[in-house]
């Protein structure tokens, strides 16, 4: 499904601010794979997501998704096949548009023909939106005509998740999408994430600082350091792994301990 071959990126090359953000990252994911990513500060987790989403063009290497080479495709074109959620819940939704309008936008973009500029949502579509909102269990289905700006951060993030997956994407990128939420809401959004990803058999990459989540969610765990993937565990090895063992593995592979001031060990 996703094939990343040896991609590298250096920011500000040739200046004092030169930063090698990605160096020779390769990653292959099958359809339905759900990998969590942990790593030190500045390990390149968000940079990797940005490279996949098209925020910048990589210096070398290639990226293909669902059999199509997207290495040089513009960000807005890639996002037809991709959902991308950020840590900041404000980034995924338009605050001055209603819940219904936000959902319509997400639905119309991914569905039907890309050239159907004048298509509108039908009554049946709206009923479907209502049903999907009800799944969130946040009472949003009765507030469809309200501005999204009136919702809490957790509600906005849940809505953004729904919008990103309404038409199942080939790849879902979750960049610490629960980190800015209070623990209870974060749990709720994580549960939803699990349900939606499993339900749609969506290929998913998720950055997290919560080590327990990193081992519990999905079927693979990746660790990054200095712009490289230093550990990739899955299958039986991962099932029985504890957080302590994961950290020991990391130290063995990198030669130093995991250095992250925001890490949650439990």
């Amino acid at each position: 499904m996703l094939d990343i071959v040896n991609i590298s990126k250096t920011f500000n090359p040739g200046t004092v601010n030169e930063k090698k953000a990605l160096s020779g990252v390769s990653l292959h994911m099958e359809r339905g794979d759900f990998a969590t990513i942990v790593g030190s500060n500045g390990a390149g987790k968000s940079t990797l997501f940005n490279a996949i989403a098209g925020g910048f063009i990589t210096d070398q290497g290639s990226i293909s998704l669902a059999g199509r080479d997207i290495t040089y495709e513009a960000e807005y074109r890639r996002s037809r096949q991709m959902g991308h959620l950020f840590q900041d819940p404000m980034r995924g939704t338009a605050p001055h548009m209603t819940i219904e309008e936000n959902m319509a936008l997400a639905y119309l973009r991914a569905g039907k023909s890309q050239r159907a500029y004048f298509s509108r949502v039908s009554k049946a579509d709206k009923a479907a939106f209502r049903e999907q909102l009800a799944r969130l269990g946040m009472g949003l289905e009765d507030r469809m005509r309200q501005s999204v700006g009136l919702l809490s951060g957790g509600q906005r993030q849940a809505l953004a998740l729904l919008m990103a997956t309404m038409v199942p994407p080939d790849l879902l990128l979750l960049d610490e999408h629960t980190a800015a939420l209070d623990p209870e809401t974060a749990d709720k959004v994580l549960t939803l994430t699990r349900e939606i990803v499993a339900g749609g058999n969506i290929t998913c990459l998720m950055v997290t600082h919560n080590m327990k989540n990193a081992l519990e969610l999905g079927n693979r765990t990746l660790m990054m350091d200095s712009g490289r993937i230093v550990l990739d565990v899955g299958g039986e090895a991962r099932k029985n792994m504890t957080v302590e063992e994961l950290l020991v593995q990391f130290k063995e592979n990198v030669g130093k301990g995991l250095d992250n001031d925001r890490i949650l060990l439990s």
């Binding site: 513009a74 960000e75 074109r77 980034r91 548009m97 319509a104 936008l105 973009r109």
Partner: protein, 302 residues
Amino acid sequence: MLYIVQTALEAGALYAPVALALFLSYSILDIADLTTDGSFTLGCAVSAMVCLAGHPILAIPAAMAAAAAAGFITAFLQTKLAVPSILAGIVTNIGLYTVNLMVMGSSNRSIFRRETIFSLAEGLGLGSATKLVVCAVVVLAMCAALVWFLGTRLGLSIRATGDNKDMVRASSINPNFTITVGLCLANAMTGLSGALVVQSTSSADVNMGTGMVVIGLAALVIGETLIGKGSMVRRVLGVLAGSIIYRIIYAAALRANLPAEYMKLVSAIIVGAAIAAPAIKRWIGFEKQKHAALAERRDHRA
């Protein structure tokens, strides 16, 4: 009195498309489009020339297309060539001055006694209300089209572009495309207004558009402040009402023997005050709180 109201309604409808254009570019896309003055005049010029050639109805779409092309230039400058949006508008606007002179062949053109859409409509037997009815039909049709458009996929994309750029980039909308479509449409509306005004007054002048952006903003701000936000229908009709209210103020000011040139200053003050209002409110609130707190502290000490 009735005459004043009718004139205000007429002028309100004639200039309403400018306010609606700014509603699209300023309120929705969050771009201050300074092409407005020039594209209004371009609408006037094209409309006048096509009327002189004998096609008053064709003059309307021709003026709109010409003004949309002007909007395209501004959009191209800011999306493809990274010119800051305000500067892009100013650059196009200055260039349009010459273009407008070229279109008209001189600094003004009269279409007096020529066929216009208003003279064509005289046969309908509406008497003195002819102008008002024609304007109202055209403008209401435009409002309906605008509301409809803003609910389509493209319209929603344009609204999202002005609301949350981050979201737009991550959701398969090309912001360069939506900005371009938005500015073309906005300027087409401005051009429509120019086309109607010329056919209504029977003369075109190269300076007709001067200050039009501020007049349009004044109408927009009045509409948004008095009618407020809400559904798209309400917002669009609010802008239309704002345009009419502005013209009523204008007519009243003229009645009070205020020279017509003074209206540009009045418009500037309305716009400046209305856009500054939130900041002024915040400042007053802060001062109030501070004085109350200081007074309490003094009482405490005493």
